[in-house]
Symmetry: C2
Subunit: 169 residues, 2 copies
């Protein structure tokens, strides 16, 4: 067997979508694990409450995938998670979960519209981040893992056992 790494099939679009949606299923459980008042009000060390982090995740997912398909992105400061637009955020935990499920459907629908050669094309995401679209997708997923993990520390500090890291079902 020849070892020609650049010709290797590392992963497929379908597997990458399933990877992302698996992480999104776990993040949804972390959102739901918070008492409502703590979801909007609890923090550690001057960080944001988990609702703001969850809004950032929603924003990057919805507008990130839309940008990859259409080539058009809003500016970061226009997004609901941004400090200038708190009124655009869902006002209850239930409304957050409803928005979450809407974005799940949007991601599934738009994903199938990504042209095959788009992953390796270079784009400027959100008007400022120049990367291959694959790297942009990884950034959105990694950013979700990062903030969700911060949320799990909030839960532990509140005496609540978070959903397990491997629980993506």
């Amino acid at each position: 067997m020849e070892n020609v790494q650049t010709s290797a099939l590392v992963t497929t679009p379908e597997a990458l979508l399933e990877h992302w949606q698996g992480h999104r299923r776990l993040t949804r459980k972390v959102i739901a694990a918070f008492p409502e008042k703590d979801f909007f009000g609890f923090n550690i060390g001057g960080m944001r409450p988990f609702s703001k982090m969850a809004m950032e995740i929603l924003d990057l997912t919805e507008h990130g995938i839309r940008g990859i398909v259409t080539g058009t992105y809003p500016e970061m400061h226009e997004l609901p998670h941004h400090g200038n637009n708190p009124d655009l955020m869902p006002k209850t935990q239930a409304a957050f979960l409803e928005k979450w499920d809407e974005v799940t459907a949007i991601l599934n629908e738009l994903w199938t519209q990504i042209p095959a050669d788009r992953y390796q094309e270079i784009s400027v995401a959100f008007g400022q981040y120049e990367n291959t679209n694959f790297d942009s997708i990884m950034y959105y997923i990694d950013n979700e893992i990062h903030h969700r993990a911060q949320g799990t520390v909030y839960l532990r500090a509140l005496g609540i056992e978070p959903p397990a890291f491997w629980d993506r079902y």
Copy 2:
């Protein structure tokens, strides 16, 4: 342009290694940002100190990549981060960073030995986790992002600004 997703080039072995090593450069900075006593002693909500999480990351990286190349894995309970083997952990923060750099070199060296068809093969990692090798690699990277993010909350709680999430250089 035809949209045949399964034939899309999503990423390459070289890009995936760079992605992992970028995360590892950031995690190294997070380790270094802790005061030594807090690296080994500070925690929130009954969680492990960051040194134990860093050891888990080191273990999964070193033995994960070795397993993907050789097909042979130690059992989880044999690894230094496991509760049964605290004596196998580096004893100082400097020794942790030295071990970190050793594993960086090991990962670079072994990565080039991954056969092109290995990514999509299914293996049982560490005697218990059955996945494609690509999914196992993603699990190791994601697990690192997850625990590193928990470490950044520890830093914030200690009044220390963590390295930025995008700082992978």
